[in-house]
């Protein structure tokens, strides 16, 4: 009887974990490996793949678009990241530290929270609309009225990358604002009082007290946003579909288009493997940054 009980006890956690483990291995673990495997096939619309060795990678090296896309990807990621981080820091410090009245603080927080809340589709509609080539409303209307331009501009045709970068940066920044605001709110008042007694200016407090204390959330936000920017293309897809002329196509989008629009699944997989590798590397950086063992609480009930 002892043996039976032991087995039952050992299997007990399995019941809790099994559905989760199955889902994760099927839809995360396995596809990651599968992506790698697919890069060596010529999987396409015929759904009859065969192994072609490194042909896909050779194709990438010979693809005239590839290096342009690589450059766009890095530009996009770095600039959007900068916008996100800058925006998060500036706005959260402004609203949580400098704004003294609780009502105003709450109002700003609500505005940014609601920005984070709404689905991306809605913002895509707004951006497309505000920056539409019509003169009746939106950016053209304002610029014409202010005399900045003479004729309505087709924004998406002339400044596609700028628009896409700013949209992605601006809208993803809201998430960082929330996390940093929570972090700043948890700084005890005494730190500020001590600094002021020492004669520190307000700007000094920002640079010498607040920002050093935000080290962890800032690092976390930088890495997680980098991961997200490298791999996501929802705004690009909705605003410019990668165009015009591939001027806003990033690696992930290129992979998506080759796979789902041209049905070149093997080739698409080969392109996406770059993004997968970079993502894995970034996640490992995240691991390094955060002392992982803190997260694991020992179990305080013996079997």
């Amino acid at each position: 009887m002892n043996y039976k009980i032991n087995l039952r006890k050992k299997l007990y956690p399995l019941w809790f974990l099994l559905p989760f483990l199955i889902m994760i291995s099927m839809f995360f673990g396995f596809p990651i490996i599968l992506t790698g495997v697919m890069t060596f096939t010529d999987f396409d619309i015929t759904y009859r793949p065969s192994f072609v060795g490194f042909k896909n990678y050779q194709k990438i090296a010979m693809d005239p678009n590839f290096f342009k896309i690589l450059a766009i990807t890095f530009t996009f990621t770095l600039v959007a990241l900068a916008i996100i981080m800058l925006m998060s820091i500036v706005i959260s410090i402004l609203t949580q530290y400098f704004v003294k009245r609780k009502v105003a603080r709450y109002a700003y927080r609500t505005i940014w929270l609601s920005m984070n809340a709404l689905p991306s589709i809605i913002y895509a509609v707004v951006i497309r609309g505000v920056f539409s080539p019509y003169a009746t409303s939106g950016a053209n209307y304002i610029c014409l009225k202010l005399g900045l331009i003479a004729d309505p501009i087709s924004w998406l045709n002339h400044f596609p990358l700028v628009l896409v970068i700013f949209t992605t940066g601006f809208l993803n920044g809201a998430n960082g604002i929330i996390i940093l605001s929570a972090a700043i709110n948890s700084i005890p008042e005494d730190y500020y009082k001590a600094a002021r007694v020492d004669g520190t200016t307000e700007w000094g407090i920002v640079t010498q007290v607040i920002i050093p204390l935000l080290k962890w959330p800032l690092m976390y936000l930088t890495v997680t946003n980098a991961i997200s920017l490298i791999s996501s293309y929802n705004y690009i897809l909705l605003l410019t579909e990668g165009g015009p002329n591939l001027r806003t196509t990033t690696l992930s989008l290129y992979a998506y288009q080759n796979a789902f629009e041209n049905s070149q699944f093997g080739y698409g997989a080969a392109i996406s493997i770059f993004v997968v590798t970079i993502s894995i590397a970034l996640v490992l950086v995240l691991f390094k940054l955060f002392n992982f063992d803190e997260m694991i609480q020992p179990c305080r009930i013996d079997d």
Partner: protein
Amino acid sequence: MSNKIIIQNNRAVVRGFVVNILLILLTAPVIYFFYWLFTTSIVNSMTGNISFKNWGFLFKEMNLDSIIIPIIWPTLWFTIKFAVLVTLLDTMIAVPAAYAFSRLNFKGKTVLMKGLFFFNAFPSATIMIAIFFLLVNLNLVNTLVGVVLVAVATMLPNHVYILKGFFDDIPWDYEWAALVDGCTRFGTFKQVVLPSATSGIGVIMIFAFLRAYSEWFLFKILIFSTKYTTLAKMMQMMLMDDGDILDYGAMTALAIFFAVPVAVFYMLSQRQLMKISNLGGKKLA
């Protein structure tokens, strides 16, 4: 002495001024977006007068030049059905898993927790191609089941991670007391731990519902027929339609209609969300 105070006061005034200007500049775009959204939806795009023509989809089928918007209610119903399915499946899988990670002991726990952390941070968009291939082989492409499974799978690591944080906060002595009071280990889970975790579970359900409600991308790549269309997918189709002229009036009206439940939900769950922003409890200062 008093000069110094005057200078400090002046500085404070100037500073307050600068801060407010900066904030207004930075927040202005957001406010403008909402303003544009609302005004465009009630303006007839042809005449420029105020009308509620754009909101016709509430009552009947709308025939715009390039696209037909069906009456909205069946689509809304389907969207909600989809979101509910995803929420239920996600919750039923995530809650036990989070409890196990938080409270149970098992071989390989460290490795699995590292895996949880890894998949929580890893972007699922990068492996969509492989997922598509997987569904093809399972005959689940173009089915509701397929989309639900993928949607749930992509949210699971994040939700389990968050829920684990909630379970971690429940004091161990509730379980100890329950064990002494006559419960089996499972009994403590069911009767004592679960009821104490309801706020965390509620948060996860809200997250899952809103994510599923907003989902259009999975429908785009995994569904080919128009049998299964959600509100978000509909809007995406309108936005990326090949026709040149987009009826922004209709689209903004649709967008507002779409956004209302989301906004309401978020307002309701504000307090819980603040708790989660605490990066899983890591001390900052």
